[in-house]
């Protein structure tokens, strides 16, 4: 993960705009802060259960359980940076898994040939839904919330029509044994390595390429982007297509891991991914965000669930705590953003409201 941390300084290309550079730095700051929060959570659990929480088995398990969400999180980060939202990812994941399973089942065979066709089919299905989302949002001007709410229902509905609502299980043995449960070396799971590759690629594209730069530009000020020659419509279509593509890819990973299309298990996946992205410092108002933050943000719910189960705390509490962290993260984002836009210092003494912080009023 440290390789990702080093990409945090790449938003420097926005430096020639005053407030923008501040906002960009905010995102990095928040990603770093949320890393500290994650470290704190890990520390608390590690202190409470020193002999069980930080075992290789548990770390490996938690990482594996977060891997598929991380793949989805890459696409979602791009979408949210453009100021949009994609509610359809969980359904697109299911749909892609269903179609891939159908195709692989029809082909038969347990070899790599069938598996590769399945992977391609899943990616194409995801890409298709992403393009539909993008076209409707960019060209038909239907708000992203509505478009993706619509495709959420449609992708899930089609999955249930095709399967009769019954989970499919066709996945070639090679996929299950390598991608699903294999290890690269020792205890390093293949599934998480694949997710890491997707995350690193996503971070490079977002922070090092023109595509990423355009994504930030569209999200912070679409009109300004248009005037300097960014084809905003086309770019939005590409971003939603990317989100669909990774959701399709996540579909085949999901099928490999669970050997089931998990039709009923993905109803909250979209919200979990969005929460992770936002906790990680990506602003719902667009223009600000990092892939690194998203990955950290996604680990917080996973680690909390894991830790609570180990502590023997009712797992309902995980939702309560994640909800609180989510609101706190957005509050911090909002407050800092307001301060940055006023051109004042990044520090602002809102703690003094409660009479506990230092009374440093510098305005």
């Amino acid at each position: 993960m440290t390789s990702l941390a080093s990409t945090r300084d790449d938003t420097a290309f926005l430096d020639d705009e005053g407030p923008r550079s501040r906002l960009a730095r905010l995102a990095q700051l928040q990603a770093l802060q949320i890393l500290l929060v994650l470290a704190l959570i890990v520390l608390i659990f590690a202190v409470l259960r020193p002999d069980t929480f930080l075992t290789p088995f548990n770390i490996r398990g938690t990482v594996v359980n977060t891997s598929i969400l991380a793949v989805l999180g890459v696409g979602m980060t791009f979408v949210i940076i453009t100021g949009g939202i994609d509610l359809s990812v969980g359904s697109v994941l299911v749909f892609s898994g269903v179609i891939a399973s159908k195709v692989m089942g029809a082909m038969g065979g347990d070899g790599w040939g069938t598996a590769i066709v399945g992977i391609l089919v899943a990616c194409l299905c995801g890409l298709g839904w992403g393009l539909i989302n993008g076209l409707l949002i960019a060209k038909a001007r239907v708000p992203p919330l509505i478009v993706t709410l619509g495709t959420l229902g449609m992708a899930l509905g089609f999955s249930q029509i095709i399967t009769g609502g019954i989970d499919l299980r066709e996945a070639p043995d090679v996929l299950v044994n390598t991608v699903g449960f294999g290890n690269i070396v020792g205890q390093i799971p293949v599934l998480s390595t694949i997710a890491l590759v997707v995350v690193v690629l996503g971070a490079i594209v977002l922070h090092r390429t023109k595509f990423g730069l355009y994504t930030f530009a569209v999200g912070s000020n679409a009109e300004a982007g248009r005037r300097v020659g960014v084809r905003v419509d086309l770019h939005l279509i590409k971003v939603y297509a990317l989100a669909g593509l990774v959701a399709g890819f996540a579909g085949i990973l999901n099928l490999s891991f669970f050997q089931s299309t998990t039709i009923s298990g993905q109803s909250n996946t979209n919200l979990n991914v969005i929460a992770g992205v936002v906790i990680g410092g990506t602003s719902l108002f667009g223009g600000v965000g990092t892939i690194f933050g998203t990955v950290v943000g996604l680990f917080i719910p996973s680690v909390l669930q894991n830790g609570f189960v180990i502590l023997g705390v009712q797992s309902f509490w995980q939702q309560v705590v994640v909800g609180a962290v989510l609101i706190a993260a957005v509050y911090v984002d909002q407050a800092r953003r307001a301060a940055a836009l006023r051109g004042s210092s990044l520090q602002f003494p809102f703690l003094s409201r409660f009479g506990s912080g230092p009374r440093k009023v510098n305005r």
């Binding site: 259960r49 249930q160 449960f181 009923s264 993905q266 309902f316 509490w317 609180a324 962290v325 993260a329």
Partner: protein
């Protein structure tokens, strides 16, 4: 970390502290010392069947001096149960009692528990290869399906068309109930089997299935709903079609809603499992396995058929599922 970070951290510590206080579980000691640590992984949380099983487990564990922690997924789905199971394994209990949510998808995650030297006992549902478990305890579901058909024969003695509303294929328990029922129907020429429809554990879908089936076959005499949600939905479907009382429904399980449906006359009979007994047997087998004593690989538990006539007898009341211990 600056002050903003500090606020998040503060909130979090508070929340964690609060949850720590809210926990009712006794503090457990190290993995090797003290009483035996058992963990129960439910198929889904907040279901009367699993709550009753939990009661049985806790009761028996208290007798044998073991501690129990109970966890489960929000929905009956392997993608949600796997992370819960993984965390439970990480907490290093001596034995895990689990109701797998899928015969194949849960095989590998449960194998991981066995690899960590944790004894596994399957309760209620089972696996494709149950040999990894020390013991598997479940209702004899084939027998349960047959019991349901016996109930329908009594309620609609003249014969006719019968339908099964089940959850989804791949769940060993409901598959067997449906099979037991269908086998019994085939053995009796007076009845015609309309096959199995799947509700995907969604009461609304079950209601639609029953409404649609009545459109196609107005002369259905009996419906066997293989689980809680299917029965609830089937009852709704009959009510929507105005055929309640004419078409006899035999439900499986005896949760509060089924019992109310039975009292209201929407459902005419219930085949009640014995979840508390499954739980108690599960603990006995797990503890025996841990102590190196002989275990029974497979245990089938029986049923109680509930009707309005026997519901209020002590025996009937004992068969009703609990919502809290």
């Amino acid at each position: 970390m600056n002050r903003n970070g500090a606020i998040i951290a503060g909130l979090l510590t508070l929340a964690l502290a609060a949850t720590g206080c809210g926990s009712s579980n006794p503090p457990s000691s190290g993995p090797s010392s003290g009483p035996l640590k058992l963990a129960f992984v439910q198929g889904v949380i907040g279901d009367a069947f699993y709550v009753t099983m939990q009661c049985g487990i806790e009761e028996e564990a208290a007798k044998l001096g073991a501690t129990v922690s109970t966890n489960g997924p929000q929905k009956f789905d392997p993608s949600l149960q796997t992370p819960v199971l993984q965390s439970v394994i990480a907490s290093q209990p001596n034995a895990i009692l689990i109701a797998p949510t899928d015969v194949s998808a849960m095989q590998q995650p449960i194998q991981q528990a066995v690899q960590q030297n944790i004894k596994v006992v399957l309760v209620d549902t089972t696996l494709k290869d149950p040999s990894v478990a020390a013991s598997a305890i479940a209702s004899d579901n084939l027998g349960g399906g047959k019991a349901a058909f016996d109930a329908i024969q009594q309620l609609a003695p003249n014969g006719g068309k019968v339908l099964v509303v089940s959850v989804q294929p791949g769940i060993s328990t409901t598959d067997d109930r449906a099979k037991g029922f269908q086998d019994a129907v085939k053995a009796n020429p007076a009845y015609q089997d309309l096959g199995v429809q799947y509700s995907n554990n969604d009461p609304q879908k079950a209601a639609q299935i029953v409404s649609a089936a009545l459109q196609a076959n107005p002369d259905i005499v009996g419906i066997f709903a293989t689980n809680l949600f299917s029965a609830e939905g089937s009852a709704t479907g009959l009510r929507q079609s105005g055929r309640q009382g004419v078409v006899k429904i035999v439900g499986f399980d005896a949760g509060p809603d089924q019992v109310k449906a039975l009292q209201d006359g929407t459902v005419q009979a219930l085949v009640a499992q014995q979840p508390a007994l499954i739980g108690r047997d599960g603990v006995t087998q797990a503890v025996a396995a841990l102590k190196g004593q002989p275990v029974t690989k497979s245990i089938g538990t029986g049923f109680t058929v509930l009707t309005q006539a026997n519901l209020n007898t002590p025996e009937g009341q004992a068969a009703v599922y609990k919502t809290a211990c």
